[in-house]
């Protein structure tokens, strides 16, 4: 293996390629994708689109470079995953055809997100918060504005993150997720990695929103699980067994960031598709995904997003940003540290890899 040397630490070409790809993903997922959506000025939007396109093309080149060398594996989905996916697609089509055909939820498809999840209590009701994010326990106590200073749309995902999405009300989450300062300051990283908290609610706020919550803990710190302050409640009053040790636990549960050792343990939505998984005895299962993954108690919870069929499957397919660097210590995986906005959340670099 070839290697270079920097500051006394050697990096192989593989590590370097991996780090560059991680950097590209980071830029693409966390900055350019939402920036395109949020830019009000057409010319600025066009610039973000152009840059985003460049970054994606560059990432593809690196992907190919690594893939042909066996450094970035891609595996075929297994039958179970494919069946689950087909069921999900089938149910979604039924739901949608029911909506367009009858103007109401599809009878006989229960629970479905049209009926109880997204529709009624979560997503589309006033403020995610009503009973959404905060879960039933919140009972309207928390509400999610999605924006800071009333700006923009109370949308979902990274785009709203940048606006400093915040909770209103007495949120167990404030310290970690955003609090008053939005994500640059205490946000995402913060003390609590609050993303869990809100994801764990009864309602499924939508993948984007989940991302928003998860990302900023900064993969490393979040995964390290040292500061999962809000964990005791974990959503709608459900106990989060691993709360005290947080997401990653302390040396016990580890997030590999990939499933079946596939792909790159990258970050962000791109990593999500790789089917991230937990290794070890995950304290997380009971509350976040349980046996049914997203569907049962987690994302969809009992009333959300199609319940059992929602994200279905045995795997708790957490988004990539819940991962940290795979390599130990500093090195290519520790990129981005030092940027002010992410310091709290993403520095550390030791999280997942221990």
């Amino acid at each position: 293996m070839t290697s270079g040397e920097t500051g006394g630490k050697e990096f192989s070409d593989r590590e370097i390629a991996q780090d560059i790809l991680t950097g590209e993903k980071h830029l693409s997922n966390y900055y350019y994708a939402p920036a395109v959506l949020e830019a009000a000025d057409p010319s600025l939007r066009a610039t973000f689109q152009e840059v985003q396109s460049d970054v994606q093309m560059g990432a593809k080149k690196l992907f190919d470079y690594m893939n042909v060398r066996g450094w970035y594996e891609v595996n075929q989905a297994n039958n179970q995953a494919m069946n689950d996916l087909r069921n999900t697609a089938r149910e979604s089509r039924q739901i949608v055809s029911g909506l367009t055909g009858q103007g109401q939820g599809m009878p006989g498809v229960q629970p479905s997100y049209a009926q109880q999840g997204y529709g009624q209590q979560g997503y589309s009701q006033p403020g995610y918060g009503a009973e959404g994010f905060g879960g039933q326990g919140a009972g309207g106590q928390y509400s999610w504005t999605g924006t800071q200073a009333g700006e923009g749309q109370p949308g979902m995902g990274p785009s709203s993150l940048a606006q400093g999405a915040r909770w209103v009300g007495q949120s167990a989450f404030q310290g970690g997720f955003g609090g008053q300062q939005g994500y640059s300051q205490q946000g995402y990283g913060g003390q609590a990695a609050g993303g869990q908290h809100y994801v764990g609610g009864q309602q499924y706020p939508g993948p984007q929103q989940y991302m928003a919550g998860q990302q900023y803990p900064g993969p490393q710190q979040y995964m390290a699980g040292q500061q999962y302050a809000g964990g005791q409640q974990y959503g709608a009053g459900q106990q989060y067994p691993g709360a005290q040790r947080g997401f990653g636990g302390i040396g016990r549960e580890r997030w590999t960031g990939t499933q079946f050792g596939e792909g790159q343990p990258g970050m962000g939505p791109s990593g999500l598709a790789q089917g991230a998984r937990w290794v070890g005895q995950s304290a997380f299962q009971g509350s976040f995904g349980g046996q049914q993954g997203y569907g049962q108690q987690g994302w969809g919870a009992q009333q959300g997003l199609g319940a059992q069929q929602a994200y279905g499957g045995q795997q708790v397919s957490l988004p990539g940003w819940t991962r940290g660097a795979v390599r130990e210590g500093e090195g290519p995986g520790a990129g981005w540290a030092g940027r002010p906005a992410f310091q709290q959340g993403s520095q550390g670099g030791q999280g997942v890899s221990e």
Binding site: D13, I20, A35, T47, F48, D54, Y65, A162, Q163, R339
Partner: protein
Amino acid sequence: MLPLTQVETWYLGESIKGETFLCQKLASYLDQIQDPELRALTGDFQRTCERHIDLLSRHVM
């Protein structure tokens, strides 16, 4: 040019910083990489980064 919104300002700033950081990293990697193909790729990325910084900065100047 329209005045920038708060959100645009944030994204521009973070993007410029991110590209700059990446650019610096790529420059340091160039000296270490052994494989000519990867070195060429990295050189391309570095130039792309510089162009991005230029493009993004135009909206600020």
